[in-house]
């Protein structure tokens, strides 16, 4: 049985995913309490937990706005995708940590899940 953790430090996410930090260096000590992985932003917006991490392969400013709306703490761009400078600066303004990992989405999610970070509730 995999143990579920209540919170995970963003620094630990960075280490587990071998990720590079692109924005929010000063916020790396923060914590998240759930994770969401999606390329469709409205599906993210249907997801209720705040203080979450978003894993996505989508790279445009709407990813940051969506994360802002949901009070998310961190965005991980997977599959080696690199957001443009305007996306990074938007995240900086919004106080969101941006990580970039070479891992594929499935692998990245599996590793976080295995380490106890689970998904949140879906609000009907």
């Amino acid at each position: 049985m995999l143990r579920k953790v209540e919170k995970m430090k963003i620094l630990k996410i960075k280490e587990l995913l071998g990720a590079e930090i692109l924005a929010g260096e000063d916020l790396i000590g923060g914590e998240v309490n759930s994770a969401c992985c999606c390329d469709m932003m409205s599906d993210v917006l249907a997801f209720v937990k705040d203080q979450a991490v978003l894993l996505t392969g989508l790279c445009n400013p709407q990813v940051v706005r969506t994360a802002t709306m949901m009070d998310m703490r961190c965005i991980v761009f997977v599959r080696g995708k690199r957001p443009s400078d305007d996306v990074i600066s938007l995240a900086r303004e919004s106080g969101i940590v941006v990580l970039a990992s070479e891992m594929r989405m499935y692998t990245a999610c599996g590793i976080l899940y295995e380490n106890g970070l689970h998904g949140g509730e879906f609000q009907k």
């Binding site: 390329d39 917006l45 249907a46 445009n60 709407q62 990813v63 802002t68 949901m70 009070d71």
Partner: protein, 140 residues
């Protein structure tokens, strides 16, 4: 109290990149006014979905947010093509957005359902070829 504070925004229909800026602005304003994080999130998500819809489907429009003592009302008005079948449009997963929008992360058919999900009341008035106005209320 009957006094209200109004915030008005024009939504630029030509620029998908800037879509959502008004919602980010509202989020900040409501935070400054001292509303709870839950109320702020519900208002800003509902408005954000509406803003995206107006950019995708209606070449922009306007957003008015009226803040009352006990509720926040959001009125989104556009002069787009109108919604032929509102019940169908309200179904999760139903979308008429073009493929290029889907590649930008929208068009999953969750916009209107999310607006309903996050608000206490939602009413759609739409006329084909004239436009659509959506009224949403979030109780505070």
């Amino acid at each position: 109290m009957t006094d209200k504070v109004n915030f008005h925004f024009d939504i630029d229909g030509d620029n998908f990149t800037s879509a959502g800026e008004a919602s980010v602005r509202i989020k900040k304003l409501l935070r400054e006014m001292g509303f709870s994080p839950d109320t702020i999130r519900r208002v800003s998500v509902a408005m954000y979905e509406g803003e995206i819809n107006m950019v995708i489907h209606a070449n922009g429009g306007s957003a008015d947010v009226d803040v009352y003592g006990d509720r926040i009302e959001i009125i989104l008005a556009d002069k787009g093509p109108g919604i032929p079948d509102i019940d169908l449009a309200m179904q999760e997963g139903y979308s008429t957005a073009p493929d290029n929008i889907r590649s930008l992360g929208f068009g999953a058919g969750m916009g209107l359902p999310n607006m309903k999900r996050y608000t206490d009341d939602m009413r759609i008035e739409s006329a084909l070829g004239v436009g659509t106005t959506i009224y949403m209320t979030v109780k505070t």
